[in-house]
């Protein structure tokens, strides 16, 4: 058998980010995939130890420019538990709203990139057009499109006014109706051909390889950290979206339904929004060890924070969802997929290389 080696990346038109896959192929079939990472490694974990804990919020936000809200939420929740304080209820609701807005824009972004990867250009353009509305809503709340800086240790930095909440409601209506416009994409023949049965990850494999987030939920594992009820999620009604397709189409379906779920969660937050303070001030020393986990758009985000009572943190460890999803992707790729499907499979787990390597 003739085996050839194809290097896929690091600079590749389909991926906005540099990741390299060394593919061993027989004819057109991939038999082995070896990921090579490290092209965006910066050393943020070390910088966490050097900076002031308050400045670290902005650093945490810039681990990943696509999901700043979960990163800062996880970081401040960890530091809060070291200090032994808790954010006031209104702050928790605002955090939840920001996290869900983040999830909406991230999932729409992903849906567009999938369209781009399979050559469905008009779909890519359409979804990204809708996404701008979400970004506008975020900008009206926080003052910036991409990096929000909403979280502070002990609460949030900015309150939301009633007009903002009402504006948010309108945006949600707009996003919901526009998603309905393009919902038929799920039934599209070409999309089905390119995703169904492509990139199979069985439930057993997902458990073995430690898949998280939509990748795990598309393989029939009901794993959603929001059910643990951190922040305001304890007061809100929702069920994790789980499907049993185990393929790229399943991951598409999970994200599509999560979009609707997030819209619903935001509406619930707006209705239940309590009034009161938004910040608990505290000068307690940061002592001990804490683990803080939140559900980012791509899955479980894990922060381990250790303080030693001094002004600076001793260690911050970040495990991002994509890091956990790389091994499952290698499993999917190594099952003899076509070279043309590599980009679809890699995209189907929604890679975020920047946060993987930190």
């Amino acid at each position: 058998m003739v085996k050839s080696t194809i290097t896929f990346g690091p600079q590749h038109p389909v991926f906005p980010e540099p990741i390299q896959f060394i593919l061993k192929v027989v004819d057109e079939k991939v038999v082995l995939a070896e990921p090579q990472i490290g092209y965006v490694h910066r050393g943020i974990e070390k910088a966490f130890e050097l900076n002031d804990p308050k400045d670290n919020i902005f650093l945490a936000e810039r681990i990943c420019g696509i999901c700043p809200a979960p990163h800062t939420t996880a970081y401040v929740r960890g530091v809060e538990s070291l200090m032994g304080i808790e954010a006031p209820p209104r702050a928790k609701y605002i955090r939840t709203i920001m996290n869900e807005l983040n999830r909406i824009h991230s999932h729409i972004l992903w849906a567009g990139l999938l369209g781009d990867a399979i050559g469905f250009e008009s779909y890519f353009m359409q979804t990204w057009n809708y996404r701008e509305k979400v970004l506008d809503a975020i900008e009206k709340i926080s003052g910036h499109r991409v990096t929000y800086a909403m979280n502070a240790i002990g609460g949030v930095r900015r309150d939301m006014t009633n007009e903002q909440l009402r504006g948010l409601e309108k945006t949600m209506d707009y996003v919901e109706s526009s998603l309905e416009n393009i919902e038929d994409v799920m039934k599209d023949y070409t999309i089905k051909k390119r995703t169904q049965g492509i990139g199979i990850l069985t439930e057993e494999e997902a458990r073995r390889d430690g898949a998280v987030g939509p990748t795990a939920r598309a393989s029939g594992i009901s794993q959603d950290l929001r059910t643990s009820g951190y922040d305001a999620y304890g007061d809100l009604k929702f069920e994790p979206v789980v499907v049993n397709n185990c393929d790229s189409y399943g991951r598409f379906a999970v994200r599509w339904q999560e979009l609707k779920q997030s819209i619903d969660l935001i509406r619930q937050c707006i209705v239940k929004m309590p009034s009161g303070e938004i910040l608990t001030k505290s000068n307690n020393p940061m002592n001990g060890e804490a683990i803080s986990r939140v559900e980012a758009p791509r899955g479980e985000l894990f922060y381990y924070i250790k303080g030693n009572g001094s002004k600076k943190l001793e260690r911050v460890k970040v495990r991002t969802p994509t890091f956990a999803n790389i091994i499952p992707t290698v499993t999917m790729l190594s099952k003899g997929c076509q070279v043309a499907d590599v980009s679809v499979i890699v995209l189907s787990m929604d890679p975020c290389i920047s946060c993987t390597e930190r």
């Binding site: 490290g38 070390k46 050097l50 458990r207 390889d209 060890e289 495990r319 890091f323």
Partner: protein, 117 residues
């Protein structure tokens, strides 16, 4: 931390096997530089609660790898080897750092930023 078990190089594999049998997911491992020794905390999760194994070892000591039990430990262990310069059997460096990068940069003794820049 809650649900924490102290292990050493000899008992690590046995305890990990127990986790595997209890169908726990291996979330990640954190390496800590405590000055005179190193610690690696292995975090496991079963959906409701987390369990942790804390392995302490001296610098230069080779600790066993849990890759054979949990395939997903592969990158996690190479990252630790890369960033802390510790020895884990059968794991080589070179995952994240380039050939010109500083060596073992996450150690407390490493300079914060190399002078070359």
């Amino acid at each position: 931390m809650q649900n924490e078990i102290q292990v050493n190089s000899a008992t690590l594999i046995g305890e990990t096997l127990k986790m595997l049998e209890a169908k726990m997911r291996f979330a990640t491992a954190t390496c800590l530089d405590i000055g005179d020794h190193f610690e690696i905390i292995y975090h496991f999760d079963n959906g409701n609660e987390m369990k942790h194994l804390r392995l302490s070892f001296k610098d230069g000591e080779e600790v066993p790898s849990i890759r054979a039990l949990y395939a997903c430990a592969r990158f996690i262990e190479s990252e630790i080897v890369d960033l802390f310069g510790v020895k884990i059997s059968g794991v080589s460096a070179g995952l994240l750092l380039g050939s010109d990068s500083p060596v073992a940069p996450m150690r407390k003794s490493a300079p914060a930023k190399s002078e070359v820049n």
